[in-house]
């Protein structure tokens, strides 16, 4: 095992034993980036000098006996949708070029306090709108398990950076599956926390009522270590929740040691038409593993699953149309040089700055909020959203289910270009993940197996609100046993 594919818990141990320095660790990743990045295109940019300076500062803290904890000196790759002071923030869009953020997102400030090294700008679908990372205005990130396939999206760069050992951890954002889908396609762990668990301050808004920042790692344990630093109430985000933040890492270890048993719900709707047979077989095998370990498996029903996609696309586009109004060329970012008056300043800047998928969603959202359509679309969608949440809460409260288990996506990664002309089929990749966002629940995707053509398959576990500790504990039972995320793609 080399440094770049060593789990974070081990790296943390090596750092604290002074077997390695943070600078050495950072250099190992930079070396790995130089070897791998040209093949996968995960980074939009990274600042070597800054990363090494942060690593050096960490080593100095350690030398002075003032280390900040288990993440001190560990690099964390950042999706290009989260603000880091003095670093570019483009959301993979031309409209923000050449914007540099003057402030840190709360999660970045938290990582810095914990000694972590926020590093690099990871590629994504423009403004997090997409499921394949093909909608970046700059480059298409490749799936390291098959370079002709997409890595999933929108946090494709974040998943690939971790899957290829270019970064031990990374941050993504998840509005309808944008962490879990690429985690599933790239054979890594990705957690979408409960809505309100992690501050959104500094996360460029796509759909405010659904967006959450979450961690990527190679193991559930690694993810728990980073998540501990991210979670918590933030006075800069009114929608962040004041629930206590447990030590997730300690909690999953304690749970494993206690051998406590869980009740897992299997929704029949997630195994219906459209599910790839290889994916089905892999997921059923994982469920069987849990059963053999002595956990209870019950069949449940989530009857509103089939209408989640239209509901989701109404809410998401409505909020996006308003959230993206600020990119107008007036105060920052791209301004069209071709505008003759104020109206053209808006229309040309936005026409030239936004990509096709972003425009599609802004137009859809503007339409559903328009006078006369609001009640029929937006208001109705909000009502159905409540029904979708009720489905989950029924399973949790009436059936006493600890977590819901199923596939993250109906298929493994698809080919680059395969679905770009067919938005609806692209939207269907998120059918199992978007319900979780609509219900505001925590969800995690963990490596579950591979198809015959060696494409990764992800297992999704959905937890009760603010019960990430239990969710991570359940996921850890499978992950710690199989350690699939440590498997390395051949590049």
């Amino acid at each position: 095992m080399e440094l770049f594919n060593t789990p974070v818990a081990t790296l943390s141990e090596k750092l604290s034993q002074k077997e390695i320095s943070s600078v050495e660790l950072m250099q190992a990743y930079l070396k790995r980036i130089k070897a791998v990045e040209p093949k996968v295109d995960a980074f939009l940019s990274y600042n070597e000098e800054d990363a090494l300076a942060q690593a050096k500062a960490s080593d100095e803290r350690r030398a002075n006996g003032k280390t900040s904890g288990s993440l001190d000196g560990i690099p964390v790759g950042i999706k290009d949708v989260i603000a880091v002071k003095n670093q570019p923030l483009t959301c993979a869009s031309k409209i923000l070029e050449p914007y540099v953020s003057p402030y840190d997102a709360t999660v970045i400030a938290n990582i810095k306090v914990a000694g972590g090294i926020p590093f690099g700008r990871l590629n994504m679908d423009e403004f997090a709108m997409g499921s394949s990372t093909e909608h970046s205005a700059y480059k298409i990130t490749k799936n390291p398990w098959d370079l002709s396939c997409i890595p999933g999206g929108s946090s494709g760069g974040s998943a690939v950076a971790v899957a290829t050992g270019m970064s031990p951890l990374s941050l993504g954002s998840d509005t309808g599956g944008s962490i879990r889908l690429p985690a599933s396609f790239c054979n890594v762990v990705g957690l979408k926390p409960t809505y309100g668990r992690v501050s959104r301050y500094g996360l460029t808004a796509y759909a405010s009522s659904l967006d959450q920042i979450g961690p990527f790692g190679r193991t559930v344990e690694d993810v728990a270590m980073l998540f501990k630093v991210l979670a918590g109430r933030d006075e800069n985000d009114s929608t962040s929740f004041p629930a206590e933040v447990p030590d997730y890492h300690a909690a999953l270890k304690a749970s494993a040691a206690s051998g406590e048993k869980f009740k897992l719900g299997v929704p029949k709707e997630y195994f219906a038409e459209g599910l790839d047979p290889e994916v089905r077989a892999s997921i059923e095998k994982a469920i069987d593993f849990y059963k053999k370990q002595g956990h209870t498996i019950v069949e449940i029903t989530l009857p509103h699953t089939n209408i989640a996609i239209p509901v989701y696309y109404i809410i998401v586009t409505a909020e996006a149309s308003s959230n993206l109004a600020r990119y107008d060329g007036v105060r920052y970012g791209y301004r069209s040089p071709n505008a003759a008056n104020a109206l053209e300043l808006y229309s040309k800047t936005r026409a030239e700055g936004f990509g096709a998928e972003v425009k599609r969603r802004i137009i859809l959202g503007t339409y559903v909020l328009s006078s006369g359509y609001y009640d029929a679309y937006y208001l109705k969608a909000q009502k159905v959203r409540t029904l979708i949440r009720d489905d989950f809460m029924n399973a949790f409260q009436k059936l006493g289910v600890d977590a819901i288990v199923g596939p993250t996506s109906p298929t493994p990664a698809f080919k680059i270009g395969e679905k770009t002309d067919d938005p609806i089929s692209m939207y269907l990749a998120d059918i199992y993940t978007i319900c979780v966002n609509l219900a505001g629940l925590p969800g995690i995707s963990i490596p579950c197996g591979f198809t015959k053509s060696n494409l990764p398959i992800g297992l999704q576990l959905i937890g009760q609100p603010y019960q990430e500790a239990r969710l991570l504990s359940i996921a850890n039972r499978f992950d710690a046993e199989h350690k699939l995320g440590l498997k390395e793609p051949k590049l």
Binding site: R200, N236, S238, T239, S321, S322, A325, R326, S370
Partner: protein, 486 residues
């Protein structure tokens, strides 16, 4: 015109006086260097989020309580979407279907038949009051536009009246009453020149007797007190003339041009914005518990019309004095301090504060009135002066001169009376000499007095006062005259 009636409703925007902006901790100040009161939230940088300002909510609830509005138990925030360069997010956080305050009444005072006569009081119905954020300021120079975001995000309430007024005078009285109330409760400085209070009017006209409303025209840019009156007056006239010419009034938004003294069409109904309101997902709804309402209600000061009534009923002040005092709550506080120091003669104190003080404050070289904060004369000194007058320690003529000196120097009245030799003398011997001289020098007046014309004696008294430079005690003079003339 006599055959027509105007129907007027006002939408008044008021900037709240708070420490920080509506949704972020940046200072809320006027007059700072351009674009210094900004941060990621104000400038709508990617990732910035709003956080509600409690002080702004509380101040708005106070406004609602002052006007007897129903305070919402739960109010929420909505986004009003439109593109404009001075609006950084290109949406304004406002309240759409669940405003903070519903209903309510604003009591107004119409002008009386003369300045000395109190006019009728009338109650104007309110529709709603909601809280939102202000926008930045654009300045257009040639083909360039400059933006200043210092004002962007300042807490702003919109007070919407029912179409419950019928004349420009009523609208003016309504705006005055609103302003006075808001100043009393420390809600806003309400300076129209600084844009802290802005007014739009909805105006329609109809033949008298018709119950349905005419087509409404929204009039914007009434950005001074006189603008409100003149703009509305003009617009009513314009609509009546158009109807009399047989034209139909189109529903539209017009702009008052204070220089040209006319209104101009800005946009028609067809060009009206679709604001695509929807609940702001970044903010949680606000619950306002009864205890909070109670606490805020208990912090409200005595309100203008309550004060007017108390001054008239309990303190015996005439309308002319209350008309000066009541609109100015700081002057009232000044007056009340003086009354507290000498409660026996509020009326005399009122006279000094409402008349003499006002005159002196306006008499300086500078434009406008000297601010209260710069006065040298204190309420205690005014109380002291009235007390000396009442005790016969200075004549009322000299008291005026003493006051002028007090205003100029800040010296105490006793000091000035001493210095100027205004002290009333009760030395009967010295006064008798002057009285006898006065009788000698004014034989005609004395004869008339003896002949039954009581008023003629004032000539003699006046002579005595003049010779004694006002220092002779009027009581002693009276007694001596009675003795000598029988």
């Amino acid at each position: 015109m006599p055959n027509y009636e105007a129907v007027i409703g006002l939408e008044v925007h008021v900037e709240l006086k708070t420490n920080s902006k509506m949704f972020t901790r940046v200072a809320n100040h006027y007059g700072e260097a351009e674009n210094t009161l900004t941060n990621p939230v104000v400038l709508a940088l990617p990732g910035a989020l709003p956080v509600m300002n409690r002080e702004a909510i509380e101040k708005s609830v106070k406004v609602g309580l002052m006007f007897g509005c129903q305070i919402a138990e739960l109010c929420k925030w909505d986004r009003k979407n439109y593109f404009y360069p001075d609006l950084p997010k290109n949406y304004q956080i406002s309240q759409y279907d669940k405003p903070l305050c519903l209903g309510g009444l604003v009591e107004i005072e119409l002008p009386g038949s003369s300045r000395n006569i109190q006019g009728e009081h009338k109650k104007i119905k309110l529709t709603r009051i909601h809280l939102e954020e202000d926008v930045g300021k654009s300045t257009h120079i040639d083909i360039e536009s400059l933006l200043d975001f210092n004002r962007a995000g300042v807490p702003l309430i919109e007070i919407v009246s029912e179409p419950d007024m019928h004349t420009p005078e009523e609208a003016f009285a309504y705006l005055t009453a609103l302003r006075t109330h808001l100043l009393y409760a420390g809600i806003s400085d309400c300076d129209m020149e600084k844009g802290q209070l802005r007014c739009d009017a909805n105006i329609s006209v109809r033949p008298i007797g018709q119950t349905t409303l005419g087509t409404k025209v929204e009039l914007k840019n009434l950005n001074s007190i006189s603008g409100v009156k003149n703009g509305i007056e003009y617009e009513i006239k314009r609509q009546v003339q158009a109807i009399e010419r047989g034209e139909k009034i189109p529903q539209e938004t017009r702009r008052w041009d204070a220089f040209k003294c006319a209104t101009y069409s800005m946009r028609s109904k067809e060009q009206a914005h679709d604001y695509r309101y929807f609940p702001d997902p970044d903010l949680m709804p606000v619950r306002i518990p009864d205890e909070v309402k109670k606490r805020l209600g208990s912090q409200l000061p005595e309100l203008p019309w309550q004060k007017q009534e108390r001054y008239q009923q309990s303190l015996g002040l005439p309308y002319t004095q209350t008309a000066v005092l009541v609109p100015d709550h700081e002057l009232c506080a000044y007056f009340e301090k003086a009354v507290a120091a000498y409660p026996k003669n509020a009326k005399a104190i009122g006279n000094f504060v409402a008349n003499d003080l006002l005159r002196e404050r306006s008499s300086g070289a500078r434009e406008g009135m000297m601010p209260l904060a710069e006065l040298k004369v204190t309420p205690g000194q005014i109380a002291e002066l009235v007390k000396i007058i009442d005790a016969g320690g200075v004549s009322s003529q000299n008291a005026k001169a003493v006051f002028t000196e007090m205003f100029a120097t800040g010296h105490s009245p006793a000091e000035i009376i001493d210095e100027k030799g205004f002290k009333v003398s009760s030395d009967a011997g010295a006064i008798e000499k002057i009285v006898r001289e006065a009788i000698e020098k004014n034989p005609e007046a004395v004869a008339q007095f003896k002949g039954g014309k009581a008023g003629a004696i004032n000539v003699v008294k006046g002579y005595v006062m003049k010779q004694s430079k006002g220092s002779a005690s009027p009581a002693v003079i009276d007694e001596l005259l009675r003795k000598i003339l029988g």
